[in-house]
C-alpha cells in the first residue's frame, strides 16, 4: 500500500466507524451540560439498535429504501422514552446518577435480549434486507485527492452525524436554550433564581441524550452489524462516553475525539499492509487505538473540566 492508498483507506474507515460514536457522545454532552451524568449511554444504544432492527425487519417490505431512516426515527423515540427512566430517577427522585445509569445499561441489554426471544423465539435476529448503503457524491468525488478521501463510498449517516454535531454546537452555545442548559449544569441555584426551571431543563437534556444515543445505536445496527444480538453493541456506549470527556464536554470536541478513535482504529488495521509496519507484532497494532487514546488523554488535551454541577441532584432551597 502506498501512502496515498493508506490515506484513502484510513479516512473513510475512520469516519464510518465514528458516526455512531459521534451521535451518542453528543447525546452525552447534552445531559452532562445540564448536570446529569449519563453512564447509561450503552444501554440507550442497545435499545436504539434493538428497536431499529425490529422495526426494520417488520416494515422493510412496505417502506422499502426508506426503512433504515424511519428506523432512526423509531430509535429516536424509543431512546428518548427509555432515558426517561434515568430522568425520573436522577432528577425527580434525586437518586445517585451513576447507579441509575448503570441500571439503564443492565436493563437495556436485558430488555432487548428478552424481547428478541419473545418476538422471534431465538437469541438473535435475522439479517435486515434494507440497510444504510454507501454512495458516491457526484461532482465532489472527482476532486483530485480529496474526492477519494471524503466523497466516495460515503454513508448518509456519517454526513448526518457531522451535521448534528454542528447543530448541537449551535444550540448549546448560540441559543437562549443552550445558555439555560449550561447554566443549569454549572450553577443550578443561580439558574433557578433567575427563573429557569431546573427540573424541566434536565428532563429535556436527558431525553435529548436518549434520542441521540438511540440513533447512534440504530446507525451501528443498520449500517454496520446488519442484525441484532446480545453482542451487537458491546462497549460503543462507553467509547462514546470517553469521546465526550476527551472532547471536553463540547459537541465539536466530541466529534473530533470520535474521529480520532476511528483514525486510531483504522490505522491499526491498515498497519498490516504498510511496509515495515507489517513486521511489527500484531499485538502492538491491536492495542494501538487504546494506547493512543491514553496518551492523548494524559498528555495533549490538558485538564478536562466537567460542568460544575454534573452528578449532583438539585434540591430547591438547599445551600
Amino acid at each position: 500500500m502506498s501512502f496515498l492508498d493508506v490515506l484513502y483507506f484510513i479516512i473513510p474507515s475512520a469516519i464510518y466507524y465514528a458516526a455512531p460514536l459521534i451521535m451518542t457522545a453528543i447525546g452525552g454532552v447534552f445531559t452532562e451540560r445540564s448536570g446529569v451524568v449519563n453512564i447509561g449511554l450503552e444501554g440507550v444504544m442497545i435499545i436504539g439498535a434493538f428497536s431499529s432492527i425490529v422495526f426494520n425487519l417488520k416494515y422493510a417490505a412496505t417502506l422499502g429504501g426508506w426503512t433504515p431512516w424511519v428506523g432512526l426515527l423509531v430509535a429516536l423515540a424509543v431512546g428518548a422514552v427509555f432515558s426517561l427512566i434515568l430522568a425520573v430517577a436522577a432528577v425527580s427522585f434525586r437518586a445517585d446518577q451513576t447507579v441509575a445509569g448503570v441500571a439503564l445499561n443492565l436493563l437495556g441489554l436485558a430488555v432487548a435480549v428478552f424481547s428478541i426471544k419473545m418476538i422471534y423465539d431465538k437469541g438473535q435476529t435475522d439479517s435486515i434486507s434494507e440497510r444504510f448503503s454507501r454512495f458516491d457524491i457526484p461532482v465532489l468525488k472527482d476532486i483530485p485527492l480529496l474526492g477519494k478521501m471524503f466523497f466516495t463510498d460515503v454513508y448518509g449517516t456519517s454526513i448526518f452525524a457531522i451535521v448534528v454535531a454542528f447543530i448541537a454546537w449551535f444550540i448549546i452555545y448560540k441559543t437562549p436554550f443552550g445558555l439555560r442548559l449550561r447554566s443549569v449544569g454549572e450553577h443550578p441555584m443561580a439558574a433557578d433564581t433567575m427563573g429557569v426551571n431546573v427540573t424541566k431543563m434536565r428532563y429535556i437534556a436527558v431525553m435529548i441524550s436518549g434520542a441521540l444515543g438511540g440513533i447512534g445505536g440504530a446507525i451501528y445496527a443498520q449500517a454496520i452489524a446488519g442484525n441484532f444480538s446480545a453482542t451487537t453493541i458491546s462497549g460503543q456506549g462507553f467509547m462514546a462516553l470517553a469521546a465526550m470527556i476527551f472532547g471536553k464536554w463540547h459537541p465539536l470536541g466530541a466529534l473530533g475525539a470520535a474521529l480520532f478513535f476511528g483514525l486510531a482504529q483504522s490505522l491499526s488495521i491498515a498497519g498490516a499492509s504498510i511496509p515495515y509496519v507489517k513486521d511489527v507484532p500484531q499485538v502492538i497494532l491491536l492495542i494501538l487505538p487504546y494506547v493512543l487514546t491514553i496518551l492523548a488523554l494524559a498528555g495533549f488535551i490538558g485538564k478536562a473540566k466537567a460542568p460544575k454541577a454534573s452528578g449532583t441532584p438539585y434540591i430547591k432551597g438547599k445551600r
Partner: protein
C-alpha cells in the same frame, strides 16, 4: 430492634423455603427414578452463555440431541432429552449437577468455557456420564471429549478460494488468536497453497469475536488491496465482512467479492438481492452429527469415556457447505480429490499455523 427481628424472621423463612423446595424436587426425582424402566435412555445438555439459539455450537448440539430423541421416541423432559441454559459462568456447576440429579444418562457440556466445571462435577459424580464439546478433559473415565478437525474443512475452503480467485489474492479474518481459530487458519493456508502455490494470503486477526465495525474495516482493507475471496472465523466480527462484501456488490454488480462463512451455512447472510449472493461456501462444524453419534454409542453401551473423539471429514463431523452452483467444474473436481486424499490419509492437514 423490632425491624431487625422481622428481617431475621424473613430471612429464616426464605432459607427454609429454599430448603423445602430442594426436598421437594429431590423426592420428585426419586419417584421418577423408580418409575422409569432401566433400558430407557435419556440425554441432556448444558449450554454456555450463548444460549440454545446462538446459530452456532449450542444450537447445533441441541439439534443433534433433538434428532436423536425423536428417532428414539423420547420426549422432552426428565427421562427423555432436555437442556439447561446457563445465564452466567456461575451457572455451569449448578446446571451440570442439576441434570445429574435428574438422572440423565448422558450430559453434554457445550464449549470450552465449561471445561473446568465439567471436570469438577465429573470428579464428584463418578456414576454420571459427561461429554464435553470442543475441549479435552484427560484422565477422567466418565468424561468423553469431542473435538472437531475444522482444519480439514478449512483446507478444502482454502483450496476452493485459491482455485476460484481471479486476482490470486485471498484473505483470512480471525477472531482471537488461539488453538481453535488457529486450526481454521492453518487448514485454510495449507489448502490454498496446495491448490495454487503462488496464491497470496492476507491474514489478520481482529482481537475480538464481537466487533463488526472492525471486521468491516479489515475486509475493506483486504478488498482494497485486490483480495477477492475472504474467509472468516470470527463470529460476530464476521458480520462486518459480510456487510463490506455486500456493499461492494451492491455498488458494482460485476465486483468480484466473495465470502467464506464458518460453523454453519452462512448463505442467508450473503444475500444481496434475489439473484446475487456473495457467500462462496461455508466451513461447517457438524456438532449435531457428533452429538447424535455419541448419544447413540452411549445408548448402545459404548460410551467413549476418558477418550477424545475427533470428528473430521471422514465421519462428516466437518464439511464444506453447498456452493449453490458457484464453483467451476474444475474446482469441484479438485476439491473432491483433496477430500478423498484427506479421508484416506494421504494428506495430513496441519493443526497449527506456521510461525
Amino acid at each position: 430492634m423490632k425491624k431487625r427481628k422481622i428481617g431475621l424472621a424473613l430471612s429464616a423463612l426464605l432459607a427454609s423455603g429454599t430448603l423445602l423446595a430442594a426436598c421437594g424436587s429431590d423426592k420428585g426425582d426419586e419417584s421418577k427414578k423408580s418409575g422409569s424402566d432401566k433400558d430407557k435412555f435419556s440425554v441432556a445438555m448444558v449450554t454456555d452463555i450463548g444460549g440454545i439459539d446462538d446459530r452456532s455450537f449450542n444450537q447445533s448440539t441441541w439439534e443433534g440431541i433433538e434428532k436423536f430423541g425423536e428417532e428414539n421416541g423420547m420426549k422432552k423432559g426428565n427421562g427423555g432429552f432436555d437442556y439447561l441454559q446457563s445465564a452466567s459462568e456461575s451457572d455451569y456447576n449448578t446446571n451440570l449437577n442439576n441434570l445429574v440429579r435428574r438422572n440423565f444418562d448422558l450430559v453434554y457440556a457445550v464449549g470450552f468455557n465449561l471445561h473446568d466445571a465439567t471436570s469438577e462435577v465429573a470428579k464428584q459424580q463418578k456414576d454420571a456420564k459427561f461429554a464435553i464439546i470442543d475441549s479435552v478433559i484427560e484422565g477422567q473415565d466418565n468424561v468423553a471429549s469431542i473435538m472437531f478437525r475444522a482444519n480439514e474443512a478449512s483446507y478444502l475452503a482454502g483450496a476452493a478460494a485459491a482455485l476460484q480467485s481471479k486476482t490470486g489474492k485471498i484473505g483470512f479474518i480471525g477472531g482471537v488468536e488461539g488453538d481453535i481459530i488457529g486450526g481454521f487458519e492453518a487448514g485454510f493456508v495449507a489448502g490454498a497453497k496446495a491448490a495454487n502455490p503462488k496464491v497470496k494470503i492476507d491474514i489478520q486477526y481482529a482481537g475480538s469475536f464481537g466487533d463488526a465495525s472492525k471486521g468491516q474495516a479489515i475486509a475493506k482493507r483486504m478488498y482494497d488491496s485486490g483480495t477477492d475471496i475472504i474467509m472468516h472465523a470470527a463470529g460476530g466480527t464476521g458480520n462486518g465482512l459480510f456487510t463490506e462484501a455486500k456493499e461492494r456488490k451492491k455498488k458494482d454488480a460485476k465486483a468480484d467479492v466473495w465470502v467464506i462463512g464458518v460453523d454453519r451455512d452462512q448463505y442467508d447472510e450473503g444475500k444481496v438481492n434475489d439473484k446475487t449472493n456473495i457467500t462462496l461456501t461455508s466451513v461447517l462444524k457438524r456438532v449435531d452429527t457428533a452429538a447424535e453419534k455419541v448419544s447413540k454409542d452411549t445408548k448402545d453401551g459404548k460410551f467413549p469415556g476418558g477418550k477424545t473423539i475427533t470428528f473430521g471429514l471422514k465421519d462428516k463431523g466437518v464439511d464444506l457447505a453447498d456452493d449453490h452452483g458457484v464453483f467451476t467444474d474444475d474446482t469441484k473436481k479438485k476439491i473432491d480429490e483433496f477430500k478423498e486424499k484427506i479421508i484416506s490419509g494421504d494428506i495430513t492437514v496441519p493443526e497449527k499455523p506456521e510461525k
